[in-house]
């Protein structure tokens, strides 16, 4: 009887969210994907594959997402370490710095970057007035601006998984290692860092996959010169009303996301087993 209750309990708890996802997410996504083969042919996919341009955009998007994920990782690791080890007061301040922008609208944050990065923006004016540069740097309406904006938006998604893993690390391990004569650097590279890898992997996958579908930031900070697959899909839907083709591009994006997620997950599982 009790086992039965245990058996039904989780299902009952999950029924509502599952129904929610099923009706409002899975069904529309399936419908969208079906659109790409609507007329019973793979014409939309053939078109995407035939033109090097579209695959080029997909590759560009992958590259952009990789750069963003890498920069996020480099920035987030020390930030997460700080949050996991700092005193309560400092950690609270750190969380505030991380979460306040996270809570504000992505549009507001993205437009704010145009004020900072523009030719007449804060950064360029500062550099010009101090005489460090003679001509304003091109920081906006190009890939650099898009990367900055995306890193800003996605950073918390990297910090939290790493932070969560760091919190769980048994500090006695490090104490034991140094007690056995390991230098702090050795303790870090041999004990601490490997233990944080699952968090770093999880954060990287999360950021990378979210970045793949990014739309608003490249649209605003890219000046029409940085084209991601998300922008291309929007163009097909809004401007050309070519839903089958847009659906084909979306399917390619989804496949890429699954492929990357799957590969990383396999690596990640290997990683945990290795311990």
């Amino acid at each position: 009887m009790s086992a039965r209750r245990q058996g039904w309990g989780p299902l009952a708890a999950g029924a509502l969210p599952l129904a929610f996802l099923g009706v409002l997410f899975l069904y529309p996504v399936a419908r969208l994907l079906l659109l790409s083969v609507e007329d019973g042919s793979l014409r939309a996919f053939e078109r995407a594959a035939a033109d090097a341009l579209y695959l080029g955009v997909l590759l560009e998007t992958l590259k952009l997402s990789l750069i963003v994920a890498a920069i996020c990782l480099v920035l987030a690791y020390p930030a997460a370490y700080f949050l996991a080890t700092a005193s309560r007061g400092w950690a609270a301040l750190g969380f505030a710095c991380l979460l306040l922008p996270f809570w504000s609208s992505i549009l507001v944050r993205t437009y704010a970057w145009t004020i900072v990065l523009g030719r007449n923006g804060v950064v360029n004016r500062l550099l010009l007035e101090t005489g460090l540069i003679a001509e304003p740097l091109a920081l906006l309406n190009n890939e650099a601006g898009v990367v900055v904006g995306m890193v800003h938006v996605l950073l918390p998604y990297m910090v939290f998984p790493i932070y969560a893993v760091m919190l769980r690390i048994d500090r006695d391990l490090a104490a034991a290692a140094s007690g056995l004569g390991a230098s702090p650097w050795r303790v870090f590279t041999r004990i601490y860092f490997p233990l944080t890898l699952p968090g770093a992997f999880a954060g990287s996958v999360l950021v990378f996959v979210i970045a793949l579908g990014f739309f608003v930031t490249p649209a605003i900070l890219g000046g029409g010169r940085v084209v991601t697959i998300g922008l291309l899909i929007e163009d097909q839907v809004r401007r050309f009303l070519d839903w089958p083709f847009a659906a084909a591009l979306a399917a390619l994006l989804l496949a890429a996301a699954f492929l990357i997620q799957g590969t990383f997950q396999r690596v990640l599982r290997g990683e945990t087993r290795w311990h």
């Binding site: 033109d51 341009l53 080029g56 955009v57 145009t114 523009g118 030719r119 007449n120 091109a138 906006l140 309406n141 000046g223 029409g224 010169r225 084209v227 291309l232 163009d235 839907v237 809004r238 401007r239 050309f240 009303l241």
Partner: protein, 351 residues
């Protein structure tokens, strides 16, 4: 009062009453609101001031303004049989395409009096020409003093003589013409457009275009923010920026003139009240109110006499500006627009 006068008055009153009831009987029921989908910005503010508020006062129907214009969405709504817009703005060539595709309700000339409109604007069966506008170049006066900057598209393309980042619209319309003019084609020899030559010319300017703008608001803001020193925009966008103090000079020479088009999508709810709004929008005095605000002159020839003489030189149709621009060939774009849009989308993302 003499008996005859009494009788005349009574007859008059009865006629008026009868007329009113007959009219009321013929009129479809009044909705609480109708939706006009246009391009927002000063145009929307001007439309409210000139036409929408007047229409609300006369009929009691509220006009809800949405934006931006979207031809693909209009086509989708008509095909799906679920039209949200009573009236929609389109580029004139898109409107002609929509007409060819059977997506529009005809304009009811019994309600909409276009007798004082010139040329094709009077006779178009499905398209209401609401105003004339021009895509012109503008530059920051701290880059070049007013009048000493680029004077034509050859100059716009001349990055040695006029250095600095530029902005252009992320669409082929206008840009193909500008590219040909920059390459030496005479304004009266533009059509049919030599597309290959236009793209060869565009290839030369591409890396100097810092931003391909997508919205009208963006086009002027880029100059205000000093993001670019030279750009293209619809004349009213520059006017709005300049009247707020932006240091921008508008060069009318070789501007691209066209009509902006309003249509009623086929199957639109309350289409009758859309026609009635069009009727309001034909009135000369109201068109002048709109032109004074947005610098987009209406097509009613009588509206000129009501236009503020201080604003008149800012209108694309002013005698000093009109002959220096060219009329865009809406027919050419209606026939070739779809293919051109696709080619443009590829060109602009190609490295």
């Amino acid at each position: 009062m003499p008996f005859r006068l009494w009788m005349a008055l009574v007859c008059f009153a009865i006629t008026v009453l009868l007329n009113a009831t007959v009219k009321a009987q013929n009129e479809p029921p009044k909705p609480a609101e109708i939706v006009v989908n246009g391009s927002g910005g000063a145009q929307e503010a001007g439309s409210k001031k000139a036409f929408f508020e007047e229409f609300e006062k006369r009929t009691g129907i509220k006009v809800v303004a949405t934006s931006p214009p979207n031809f693909a969405k209009l086509a989708a709504m008509v095909k799906a049989g679920s039209v949200e817009w009573t009236i929609a703005e389109l580029d004139i060539e898109e409107a002609i395409r929509a007409e060819q595709m059977g997506l529009l309700e005809p304009i009811d000339d019994k309600i909409v009096d276009r007798s004082r409109f010139p040329g094709e604007a009077r006779t178009r069966k499905y398209v209401f020409s609401r105003a004339v506008y021009s895509t012109v170049m503008g530059y920051r006066t701290d880059a070049w003093p007013a009048g000493r900057g680029p004077k034509d598209w050859k100059d716009f393309w001349d990055t040695a003589k006029f250095p600095g980042p530029r902005a252009m619209q992320n669409r082929p319309v206008d840009n193909l013409e500008f590219a040909l003019l920059a390459d030496g084609v005479a304004p009266d020899k533009l059509y049919p457009l030599d597309v290959e030559r236009a793209y060869r010319s565009l290839d030369k300017i591409k890396k100097h275009v810092a931003v391909w703008w997508k919205t009208g608001a963006q086009s002027a803001q880029l100059l205000i923010d000093k993001e670019v020193v030279l750009g293209t925009a619809w004349n009213g966008r520059y006017f709005a920026a300049i009247s707020k103090g932006a240091p921008i000079h508008v060069e009318w020479n070789q501007g691209s003139l066209k009509e902006s088009a309003f249509v009623i999508p086929k199957g639109a709810k309350d289409a009758y009240w859309g026609q009635r709004l069009f009727a309001v929008m034909t009135e000369a005095k109201l068109q002048a109110v709109y032109a004074n605000f947005a610098t987009y002159p209406g097509l009613n020839l009588d509206s000129i006499q009501f236009t503020d003489p201080k604003i008149a030189p800012q209108l694309p149709t002013h005698p000093a500006n009109l002959p220096r621009q060219f009329w865009q060939d809406a027919r050419w774009w209606a026939d070739n627009g779809a293919a051109m849009e696709e080619r443009w989308a590829k060109w602009v993302i190609a490295k």
